[in-house]
Assembly symmetry: C3
Homo-oligomer: 139 residues x 3
Amino acid sequence: MADKATIIMQSGYYDRLYSALVVGTGALSMGMDVSIYFTFWGLDRLKKGRLEKGPLSRMNMLGLGKWMVKRKMKKANVRSLKDLMDDYIELGGKVLACDMTMDIMGVKREDLDRDLIGDYCAVGTYIKEARESDITLFL
Amino acid sequence: MADKATIIMQSGYYDRLYSALVVGTGALSMGMDVSIYFTFWGLDRLKKGRLEKGPLSRMNMLGLGKWMVKRKMKKANVRSLKDLMDDYIELGGKVLACDMTMDIMGVKREDLDRDLIGDYCAVGTYIKEARESDITLFL
Amino acid sequence: MADKATIIMQSGYYDRLYSALVVGTGALSMGMDVSIYFTFWGLDRLKKGRLEKGPLSRMNMLGLGKWMVKRKMKKANVRSLKDLMDDYIELGGKVLACDMTMDIMGVKREDLDRDLIGDYCAVGTYIKEARESDITLFL
């Protein structure tokens, strides 16, 4: 059985989602299985057209706004969030939407971008995977 | 020896504590041992009468204030933070208060809700548990 | 081979870096190997003269500003961030700077405090270490 990484993506911040996907694609390309569980503000990023819409976790720090960061990323030839997500899914990474968050936030399945989501699940699924994982992170 | 999950609860945000307790009760009900170490703003939630007082980690996102989230949770028949904490403790989950935070923040034992706290401890206790844990998270 | 702890330090907040170093030195003193990967706002703390400059993750909470927290820490005889970092490095803790963040943020090696940094690296290094780690955290 392959090594596993299991990430809870609770925050909706641009840079945190970026790191989740960098770690995710990195782990996949090194032969690991990876699942990312989207909860609360993270789940909001899975709504149609909202993937890239998260703010930075620290505005204006380093004197950089989000626009500036994205421009620098482009110039530095760094992949966009959308490209990273496509890579992640193509490499076999699982995107899981948290049922409970959908209940709490009143999010319906038709609000979400079905092209991104692998499955819907509750906490039991997470625990089952996480306890067998070599890397467990909460973002 | 049972599988273990060990969580550091540093943030005081309502939704993050909610997730800690959902993961915690989920893991307990699947036969795992669970410890949550409350530090900094997380510890603040253990003061008398303050469990439910944390703000959301992202105000106004999704157009929802905390009041709205709580109302939606009630309507969706989702458990309150207080109920989740009670379940967590009843299922055998450990609540640990960080000594060092108490020193730094000038928090005294009589400030805390003794009904919640299982023990007081320092970093050595955390490391000892975490290195044997299958799931380690920092919230 | 010694047990390992591997931490991603993405946030630049004073109290989160504090906890990373407390966990790090604690784990080192109990015989573990520890690596901290500094990304995004965490990396900003490795710039010359910026180690102690991070804001608290929750201003004014508990009625305490950062100045107040630092004063309380001094009074409580708690170690400063600088002292903790020195201990961490002296005990053999590794400080790793994320290449990709440096590209994205336009940070140059000469901007960073070379006395702190053990090495520069990309995500592959992180995955390799993290999958062998007993404790994995994302701050």
